[in-house]
């Protein structure tokens, strides 16, 4: 049976990855990843495009199998977890959420109940309340009966999150889950997840794109570049101009901002860039 005491026991890692390698065909995407992620943190995975962030997240989610190395979740190798059991504990919010065949928003959110439900069961009162809450929290109640194919990218992303909330997992994996959202909805969604995290309901690992949102949202950051982990540490200690210059090759200024009450980054390209 799943050990649920990881909520209080923060000493044993949620995930333990060692020697993880992954490649698509001959292109090596992850090389020798060693990583321990502990409960009670809100992790952010950052890095340039194509650095392997999403692949790493998929390996954490058990969606991809590494070609070498071992990945364990709650002490048990990920490939030994029955898929449905894993889905009760782990929820993934993808970057691009697409649905074929005109399912409505409500139907798609209801799919989140799948890992918890007997095959021919219909949702109970409690489940329906959970769905309504998820729809409401993500601000899509008004479009519950519209086909997803008619929604915008940002609306689809909120449907994906609502579905994962209905899935009610212990750990939330976000893959640039706010990339298509306007700033209002981004902040709203991140606050919603952050609140759940602070209430000790969920643990979070998020692939982030925007350093300022990451600084607001995450308390521990992992930088990867060319398929390797290059920096890992608390947001305050690691979000520095040196690290950003090394990872992204841009100049930056990091200052504590009283207005947002977190560290904010401003960027520019290096001045003495070869101009040929």
């Amino acid at each position: 049976m799943v050990t649920r005491d990881f909520k209080t026991d923060t000493s044993s890692p949620l995930w333990s990855l060692s020697g993880i390698r992954f490649s698509y065909g001959k292109t090596e995407v992850l090389q020798d990843i060693n990583l321990k992620l502990f409960p009670g943190h809100c992790y952010g995975i950052l890095g340039p495009n194509g650095s392997g962030k999403t692949t790493l997240l998929d390996i954490l989610a058990g969606v991809l199998k590494p070609i070498a190395g071992t990945a364990t979740f709650q002490g048990k190798p990920l490939n030994q977890w029955p898929k449905k059991q894993l889905a009760r504990v782990l929820g993934l919010v993808p970057q691009d959420f697409m649905v074929r065949f005109g399912f409505t928003v409500r139907e798609a959110v209801e799919m989140g109940l799948h890992p918890h439900m007997h095959r021919f069961a219909t949702p109970s009162e409690l489940d329906l309340a959970l769905i309504d809450k998820a729809l409401q929290e993500t601000g899509i109640s008004a479009m519950a009966d519209r086909p997803i194919t008619q929604l915008s990218g940002g609306e689809k992303q909120r449907v994906a999150l609502a579905r994962t909330l209905a899935q009610n997992p212990d750990v939330l994996l976000l893959d640039e889950a706010t990339s298509n959202l306007d700033i209002h909805h981004s902040l709203e969604i991140l606050r919603l997840i952050r609140q759940r995290y602070e209430n000790n309901d969920i643990h979070v690992v998020a692939v982030m794109h925007d350093l300022n949102l990451a600084s607001f949202f995450c308390d521990e950051l992992i930088f990867i570049k060319h398929g390797k982990i290059v920096y890992q540490g608390t947001t305050d200690s690691i979000l520095t101009p040196d690290v950003i210059a090394d990872v992204y090759e841009v100049e930056s200024e990091v200052v504590y901002n009283q207005f947002t009450s977190c560290r904010q980054v401003s960027f520019r390209l290096p001045l003495e860039e070869k101009k040929c």
């Binding site: 697409m98 074929r100 139907e107 194919t149």
Partner: protein
């Protein structure tokens, strides 16, 4: 209340409609038999009771000539409808049916091959050898398509469709070559390729029935998983659906149903394509409803088409031609209407 009871009333309604249609269809033909007589003949046969007051010729016509053909039309149409729905769901492609994957073409190639071999003097009993070769052709094609598509371990739907289209193109050319070899006897191949239910016997029904029931049952069993697969591989896996295993399992399942249909009735197009589309238009995309409904809709559609060619038209038109001629324009209308309604839904 669970899903089974919730869907029970429409299913009961469809079952009643199907039986009415069967009874009406059995009255039609060269020899006219009344509906009451048909019901009495069938119930008497089922209960093994004697029938003193009905013309024995009518009894033979209904039980030995019309009923096997009618039941076969329902089963073949039902299997094609269910396979179409499942193929579209697992390949995430509204264009998919057994043709897209090359399975029907493979079955047609198997059948054409054995017909040509017989022309060149191979001594095999044609009644048995054509279905067996058609069946083997369908399964063989699926294996080849799976082999070609399994380059990435995820067995993506794009790969499957691409592999299917390539294999189907090669097989079509091969069928063309076989037609060329058959020379003057090309008519036998062509007639078979256009499909017909005229030679069906109770023996065929015994073969079709278990596959139709088990196949439809299994597809229904995985209905919710199929719904989730509409959201793509990655999210399906994260919701606990084993997409690769489910895809292979249901592909094999539906290939068996398609190959068997082709083996018994030849190539019957359009049922697998229009039935899922029509039903999605009427009842929404939920596969738990779509799959049982496709069986009934496919079955009734083929029964109507077959009754038209058997009893209404002056000469028997190949059933595959009729379904394409009726289904094609009908499909165009639905397609256009859905575009205008602004919910093409793809």
């Amino acid at each position: 209340m669970n899903i089974v009871t919730k869907e029970l009333y429409p299913i009961l309604f469809l079952t009643t409609a199907l039986f009415l249609l069967i009874a009406v269809s059995a009255t039609m033909g060269f020899l006219s038999v009344s509906v009451m007589d048909v019901v009495r003949i069938i119930s008497a046969k089922l209960l093994q009771q004697p029938l003193p007051d009905i013309d024995p010729v009518a009894v033979t016509v209904v039980t030995d000539v019309r009923m096997p053909r009618i039941v076969a039309a329902v089963l073949v149409g039902g299997m094609l409808g269910v396979s179409g729905t499942v193929f579209q769901a697992i390949l995430l492609n509204p264009l998919a049916d057994s043709y897209t994957l090359g399975i029907s073409t493979g079955a047609a190639f198997g059948a054409s091959l054995v017909i040509v071999l017989q022309i060149f003097g191979l001594a095999l009993p044609p009644a048995v050898s054509v279905p067996i070769f058609a069946f083997a052709g369908g399964i063989g094609t699926l294996l080849l398509v799976l082999f070609l598509a399994s380059g990435d371990r995820r067995l993506s739907s794009t790969n499957l469709i691409l592999a299917g289209v390539i294999v189907a193109a090669i097989l079509s050319a091969a069928i063309g070559f076989l037609k060329f070899l058959a020379d003057e006897q090309v008519g036998i191949i062509i007639f078979w390729l256009m499909g017909s239910l005229s030679g069906v016997s109770w023996y065929n029904i015994l073969l079709l029935l278990p596959f139709a029931l088990i196949g439809t049952g299994l597809a229904f069993f995985y209905g919710r998983d199929l719904n989730i697969m509409a959201t793509g591989d990655r999210t399906s896996v994260s919701l606990g659906v084993n997409t690769v295993r489910l895809r292979i399992f249901l592909l094999v399942c539906c290939t068996l149903m398609t190959a068997l249909s082709v083996a018994v009735a030849g190539i019957i197009g359009f049922i697998g394509l229009i039935v899922p589309h029509l039903l999605r238009h009427l009842t929404g995309p939920d596969n738990r409803r779509l799959i049982p409904f496709s069986f009934f809709a496919g079955g009734m559609l083929l029964l109507v088409a077959d009754t038209i060619t058997r009893a209404v038209l002056p000469a028997e038109v190949p059933i595959g031609v009729l379904t394409a001629l009726l289904g094609g324009p009908f499909f165009c209308i639905i397609f256009k209407k859905r575009q205008q309604d602004g919910n093409a839904g793809f």
